[in-house]
């Protein structure tokens, strides 16, 4: 589906090289291009690693700032050798882990604090339900059950199937061999299917525990 076909790989690599050259030439304006080129992927993954959309924006911004601070310390050769997308997503993963750790140290918010929207895909859900019941229902349930996967499986599935990374990049972000990444993806998908099957659609949201 979203997996990169052979045709666009060359294009993407070319774009990636241009971007690396821009970063070497002028870090700040190159970084503006980097954000434009990668914000959608980074934010899409951040959304699946966060419980609230505002947390996802914070997380994505934090990841880009960490990337910028790292780039400032790199010489031209090191920048030129970066594989930007998996590098950015690895930073995002680490930032998400730090955020989760910090959140665990803080006392839980009061019960009324979490808006109900967090369990759905967005504010427009209610209006689009009529038009696309089936597709939307599945997407909305998926968003919820994805959160129940173990971290490595969730990240593997999101990287491979939400943002369409090739398995080799998934492995790079997870920091594991390709074979292990493949098995995380496959186990994650089967786990998703099991979760979707075992839970009736209207019991799903009520039964989900807020982490």
């Amino acid at each position: 589906m979203r997996a990169c076909g052979v045709g666009d790989t060359g294009d993407r690599e070319h774009q990636g090289e241009q971007l690396l050259l821009a970063l070497v030439a002028d870090l700040d304006s190159g970084f503006a291009e980097l954000v434009r080129a990668h914000e959608r992927v980074v934010y899409s993954v951040a959304l699946r690693l966060s419980s609230r959309p505002t947390d996802a924006e914070d997380l994505a911004a934090e990841a880009f700032l960490r990337a910028y601070r790292a780039l400032r310390g790199y010489d031209a050769e090191r920048i030129a050798s970066l594989r930007l997308r998996p590098w950015l997503l690895t930073i995002l993963r680490n930032a998400a882990r730090n955020a989760a750790r910090d959140a665990a140290r803080r006392p839980a918010p009061p019960p009324g604090f979490e808006p109900a929207e967090q369990l759905t895909c967005g504010p427009s859900v209610e209006h689009s339900v009529e038009e696309q019941v089936e597709q939307h229902d599945l997407g909305r349930q998926l968003g919820a059950v994805l959160a129940q996967l173990p971290e490595a499986q969730r990240l593997a599935v999101v990287l491979r199937h939400v943002v369409g990374l090739p398995t080799s990049e998934v492995a790079e972000v997870l920091g594991c061999p390709d074979g292990t990444a493949k098995s995380h993806i496959s186990r994650g998908l089967h786990r998703l299917r099991a979760l979707l099957t075992e839970q009736p659609s209207d019991g799903l949201i009520a039964g989900r525990t807020v982490r």
Binding site: M1, R2, L27, D28, S29, F31, A32, V35, R36, E39, R40, Y43, S44, L47, R48, P53, A56, E57, D58, A60, A61, F64, L65, Y68, R69, R72, C121, E134, Q135, D137, L138, G139, L142, G143, L146, V157, V158, H161, V162, V163, G164, L189, H190, L192, R193, L196, T197, P200, S201
Partner: protein, 267 residues
């Protein structure tokens, strides 16, 4: 329930791709511009949360690149040129009004923020010693630390660190040079010469024998005491012994006045 085969699950997963978050780049980049200020041209950097960094062009020899590099070193954030100035900035740089201006003081320690907040309460044309700021910031013994914080003030002019002076009546250092400190205070109608003359006589506080109130010599209540009723003191303690009480407006002493009389109204 629909779509429980793996293909429809992967299809639905692909639809979870989000559009880019609007305004994400605004949360990553700082914006910069050059604007006229009371010290000539100034470079200013700001985020969506407010103004972060101000330096006179003179202090970086007019080099916008040097300003940008100092910003990046300090804040670890990329910069891009601003389309327009945030609300209230231009007036605040000219010294006409700072009412609507937002400052972005994230990344500073609580103490640094408290020092800047206390400093921002000093009215135009008046001065307070470093020890006064330390006390108002809740750390009365951290006098030298206040000097260190103000020497690194990220937003001079907007937080008027030029109004913080030495306890002995000398104006003391300023990040853009003490000549500019004096120039700014004179432009605010500060009684710079009078304060210096009093200090030479060992007078650092002024009281009125009609009200029985003792003030800093730059306090408007001190400046309007007529010569016949004006009494000078070396210390607040000496004034207290003579039956004076510290002014509630300029708060020259800690003993009788709580450190945070109105923490809610910073400006």
């Amino acid at each position: 329930m629909m779509g429980n085969d793996l293909d429809s699950i992967t299809g639905a997963l692909a639809d979870l791709t989000a559009p880019a978050a609007p305004g994400l780049a605004d949360r990553i980049f700082g914006s910069w511009l050059a604007a006229p200020s009371r010290l000539g041209a100034a470079f200013v950097a700001f985020t969506g949360a407010g103004v972060q960094f101000v330096r006179s062009a003179e202090s970086v020899r007019g080099d916008a690149g040097a300003f940008a590099e100092a910003y990046r070193d300090r804040f670890g954030r990329p910069l891009r040129p601003a389309d327009r100035a945030p609300a209230g900035l231009l007036g605040a740089l000219r010294g006409t009004s700072a009412a609507s201006l937002q400052l972005d003081l994230r990344g500073l320690s609580d103490f640094e923020r408290d020092v800047l907040t206390a400093t921002s309460r000093i009215p135009a044309g008046q001065t307070r010693p470093y020890g006064w700021v330390a006390r108002e910031a809740g750390r009365p013994r951290a006098v030298r630390a206040v000097g260190t914080v103000l020497a690194r003030n990220p937003v001079p002019l907007l937080v008027p660190c030029h109004r913080v002076v030495r306890a002995d009546g000398l104006l003391g250092d300023y990040m853009f040079g003490s000549a500019h400190k004096e120039q700014l205070l004179r432009a605010e109608q500060g009684n710079v010469d009078e304060v210096a003359a009093l200090a030479r006589q060992g007078v650092h506080f002024v009281g009125s024998d009609t009200t029985g109130v003792v003030c800093f010599p730059t306090c408007p209540h001190a400046r309007r005491i007529t010569l016949a009723h004006r009494h000078g003191f070396r210390t607040v303690g000496a004034a207290l012994v003579s039956g004076y009480r510290p002014c509630r407006y300029c708060r020259p002493a800690a003993e009788v006045i709580p450190a945070h009389p109105d923490a809610g109204s910073d400006r």
